[in-house]
């Protein structure tokens, strides 16, 4: 029985090695790119039930792992507004029109303030900077 077992084990090992060798040769001879080109992806996808796949996904768990804050901070909103029609959409909103009018009013007022301040400083022969900010705001609000 031992001899029969040894012969069987040896033959199984031989068969396994031979199979591995054959598989290596087959894989080496295969052109994966050509094979991939022959695959009909559309047909493959048509057989896939995406709804069933999506239903199995727990989006709450998925989203809880995403750091949305970090994601948003990485978004360059200025660039998006400048490069897309988002700016036009915002510009057309009624709130924006009112905001634009207020902006014009404020910009004119600030400009006039600066001019008046400039004239007064020249009249009083006062040097140094123009409109200063309160001490505690210099490092906070004014700095933004």
């Amino acid at each position: 029985m031992d001899q029969i077992g040894q012969v069987r084990a040896a033959s199984e090992l031989l068969a396994q090695r031979a199979l591995e060798r054959v598989l290596d040769l087959v894989v080496q001879s295969l052109d994966v790119n050509e094979l991939a080109q022959q695959v009909d992806v559309d047909a493959l996808l048509s057989q896939l039930d995406l709804n069933a796949v999506i239903e199995k996904i727990d989006f709450n768990v998925l989203l809880s792992r995403v750091d949305v804050q970090a994601l948003v901070e990485r978004v360059d909103i200025d660039a998006i507004v400048q490069d897309t029609d988002l700016g036009a959409a915002i510009a057309m909103s009624s709130g924006h029109v009112a905001g634009k009018a207020v902006d014009i009013l404020r910009s004119q007022a600030v400009s006039l303030d600066d001019r008046i301040d400039h004239w007064v400083r020249r009249l009083l022969r006062r040097g140094g900077p123009g409109l200063a900010a309160p001490r505690t705001l210099l490092n906070t609000e004014a700095g933004t």
Binding site: D78, G99, V102, L105, V110, S111, L112
Partner: protein, 180 residues
């Protein structure tokens, strides 16, 4: 046009002491609003008296001392309440101004009321109390000095900057090219 509203230069003034033009414009808006509210109130009271008594009553400023006194009290209440509650009046909110303590801290109700009480002094001294807005380095009027307050530019800089960006984005390309 002194300044192009499409440019964001003015947004950088946030937190600085507000100048004379902004403050005068805000005050003018407040006078119009408070006067309109007072006139509407008087008209409402007159209408109510006419309905109840059948007599026609017509009040207007200058008609009697009492109306003048009530108007003065109303103005004090208007400015005092706005400064004490929010640190700004509707006119100041429109022009993007806010009253703060002299060191930049938030205004507390007491100093808001004190500023409103001291405000008439600047007017009663033939307007000399307002000279500080022009001449003083921190643009503080007499009532500011008494109440220990200052007026600064205060607006939503992020929203204003976004509006400026959208204007730049929606401006015709030729205009942008011409500007550069």
């Amino acid at each position: 046009m002194i300044n192009d509203a499409g440019r964001a230069d003015w947004i950088g003034a946030l937190g600085r002491h507000a100048g004379a033009a902004s403050r005068f414009a805000a005050y003018a808006v407040d006078v119009i609003i408070s006067w309109a509210a007072f006139t509407l109130g008087l008209a409402g009271i007159s209408f109510a008296i006419t309905i109840v008594t059948g007599r026609s009553v017509s009040w207007h400023l200058g008609a009697s001392i009492a109306v003048g006194v009530v108007f003065a009290v109303w103005e004090l209440t208007y400015f005092g309440y706005c400064w004490a509650a929010a640190g700004r009046t509707p006119g100041m909110a429109l022009l993007g101004l806010r009253v703060v303590r002299a060191d930049g801290a938030d205004l507390d109700p007491w100093h808001g009321v004190l500023r409103a009480l001291a405000f008439p002094l600047s007017i009663l001294l033939c307007g000399l109390g307002f000279i500080g807005i022009l001449a003083q380095r921190e643009h503080r009027a007499l009532h500011d000095l008494i109440a220990g307050t200052a007026v600064i530019y205060s607006w939503d800089a992020r929203a204003a900057r976004l509006r400026c960006l959208t204007r730049t984005a929606t401006r015709p390309r030729t205009d942008l090219d011409g500007a550069s």
